[in-house]
């Protein structure tokens, strides 16, 4: 399989990464090189094989239901590039 330029743009948008017009052909080549590299997998017989869900068999640990974590609002927003009154702020979202 290979990607066309429209797909490159669609994927870039899904991933929220800006791409300029000039970058698109280059990215297209790189992605196609990677896809060509993984192409050989389509020849592997995977009939009846379960996809891996956990590489080491173990039982998932469950937490007790208790309030054990309270970072505090100033810590939570402490690294924010912009914040106001302990809220994170972002360009206005229209719903």
């Amino acid at each position: 399989m290979s990607v066309d330029q429209a797909t490159v743009r669609r994927i870039a948008h899904l991933a929220r990464i800006a791409v300029s017009d000039e970058e698109v052909p280059h990215l297209q080549n790189e992605l196609n090189a990677m896809l060509a590299f993984v192409e050989e997998l389509s020849a592997v017989d995977v009939e009846g094989v379960e996809p891996m869900t956990s590489v080491i068999p173990m039982k998932m640990v469950w937490r007790k239901d208790a309030v054990t974590d309270h970072a505090g609002a100033s810590t939570v927003v402490g690294n924010a590039p912009v914040s106001e009154d302990h809220f994170f702020t972002v360009p206005k979202v229209v719903e």
Partner: protein, 490 residues
């Protein structure tokens, strides 16, 4: 689910009849102390970003660890919905960008949910029941909250809700009217409250409905549906369905086509409108969350939870009808809330169960409704109301006096009804001598009425009223009746 449409459910368009098809996704907040994957508090409210752990804020390197109580609550709920419990389920990531979704993905159960198919028996009216299928129930994280009205240029993001456990309960498209949909949500909420797995508080957003609405000509295949997001009251669910169905019928009858889209109900304007922000081509790129192993437990775990379940409303209703001889309507009303049912049972035990039901439903519920009070905040306790029912049963007070007594007990919290009757001389007069004196007095004072009564026996009521007035309502109505009939010769 292509049973023939019931004619009563059809709605009239300009060009003929239409059937509405409704399916619902209910997001019910799991009752738990801490969040699904973090130890932060689930408490409602709080200062912005205060009930947030570093996991909820998706700080680099933070990892989710599942809360066992949320697993139990989902299983309990599944059992309450008579649903398939899956001993192995998995968590998937639903990837999309949104400012109140800090990880850039929601941890949900897409491919294998913890609970599979189940059913909800819904009482649409006291006499009409429908069965709504449950497609699945899965656990997932709630998102944070964005406030859009704090500034002209910015949205404000608060992550206090981020990571709170939700159960998404997906129904089958088994509902065909706003009333059915409302009754379904109401019944589901009752079940969740009985189970104690969700508080069902719609104002606080503990229970939210996404309503899928489509219309079709009776017998035709399903039409294109629109999803009305996040409707937050049962009344609005009904309104949203009505207006959305009307909108769709209008479009189709005008030769148009319905676009599958997400819409928002605006209760102020009484209309639904397209949510453009959600309309971008979605590609959620679901895949199993590699930070979490599959969720596995054994049947013993499920059985233990099943043993701990309370009696659920349907079973309770059946038992009330069977053991207390109540009509379906009364039993249905009483079991709507577990607290009401318990209240009722406390009164009904060892008493006239039907009388107890009347008092609870008519007097108590009526009064509570008027005051906007919950049964748990009732000023009249079950013991007090029981005493009132006893006093009537023994013939100590009349039904009419009982109502006055109820009012006094309501106002003077904690008062003992029996003592009140004693103190305030509210006892029914059964002494025939005293009643006879009053009867004689009335007859003597109203010779014209006596004549009339002989010709028209329905006048008896007037005499009864006079006697009751004379005795301050305390006379035994049966004795008054008997005496009057005898003395008037009718």
């Amino acid at each position: 689910m292509n049973a023939a449409a019931k004619p009563s459910k059809l709605i009239k368009g300009a060009t003929g009849d239409w059937e509405i098809v409704i399916g619902m996704e209910i997001h019910a907040q799991v009752t738990s102390q801490s969040k699904l994957f973090s130890g932060a508090s689930t408490e409602f409210g709080g200062d912005p970003n205060d009930h947030v752990s570093l996991v909820d804020a998706a700080m680099p390197g933070m990892l989710p660890v599942i809360n066992e109580e949320c697993i139990k609550q989902a299983v309990r709920t599944g059992l309450g919905l008579k649903a398939q419990i899956n001993l192995r389920s998995t968590f998937d990531r639903k990837n999309y960008f949104y400012p109140d979704l800090p990880q850039g993905y929601q941890i949900s159960q897409f491919k294998s949910p913890i609970v599979g198919e189940g059913v909800v028996i819904v009482d649409v009216t006291p006499t009409e029941q429908i069965t709504v299928g449950v497609e699945r129930l899965h656990l997932e994280q709630d998102a944070g909250k964005s406030l859009h009205d704090q500034s002209p240029t910015d949205s404000f993001v608060d992550l206090n809700r981020s990571g709170v456990a939700l159960m998404e309960i997906v129904s089958k498209p088994d509902m065909h009217s706003a009333d059915e949909a409302k009754a379904y949500v109401s019944k589901l909420r009752t079940i969740l409250r009985y189970l104690g797995t969700c508080d069902g508080n719609m104002e606080q957003g503990s229970l939210r409905a996404d309503v899928n609405v489509s219309v079709r000509r009776p017998g035709e295949p399903l039409g294109t549906r629109c999803e009305i997001k996040n409707v937050n009251s049962i009344r609005f669910i009904g309104q949203a369905i009505e207006v959305e169905a009307r909108r769709q019928i209008g479009i189709i009858e005008d030769g148009g086509k319905i676009d599958q889209e997400t819409r928002l109900f605006d209760p102020g304007r009484g209309e639904t409108r397209s949510m453009r922000s959600k309309e971008e081509a979605h590609d959620y790129r679901y895949f199993p969350d590699p930070d979490l192993l599959p969720l596995e437990f054994d049947q013993t775990f499920v059985d233990d939870l099943a043993r701990g379940l309370p009696e659920l409303p349907d079973e309770k209703k059946a038992r009330f009808m069977r053991d207390y001889g109540l009509p379906a309507y009364d039993a249905g009303v009483l079991v709507m809330e577990r607290a009401s049912a318990d209240f009722y049972e406390e009164i009904a035990k060892g008493r006239d169960a039907k009388a107890a039901a009347n008092w609870v439903i008519n007097e108590l519920f009526g009064r509570l409704n008027k005051e906007g009070l919950d049964i748990t905040a009732s000023p009249v306790s079950a013991a007090q109301l029981g005493a009132i029912v006893d006093l009537i049963g023994e013939g100590t007070i009349s039904g009419k006096i009982a109502k006055d007594l109820f009012e006094i007990v309501w106002m003077e919290r904690g008062a003992d009804p029996r003592a009140l009757v004693e103190e305030r001389g509210m006892k029914q007069v059964t002494d025939t001598g005293a009643i006879e004196a009053a009867v004689d007095e009335i007859i003597a004072a109203n010779p014209d009425k006596v004549e009339q009564a002989k010709a028209k026996p329905t006048m008896l009521g007037w005499f009864v009223g006079q006697v009751m007035k004379q005795t301050g309502g305390k006379a035994n109505p049966q004795s008054v009746n008997d005496l009057l009939k005898r003395k008037l010769g009718i």
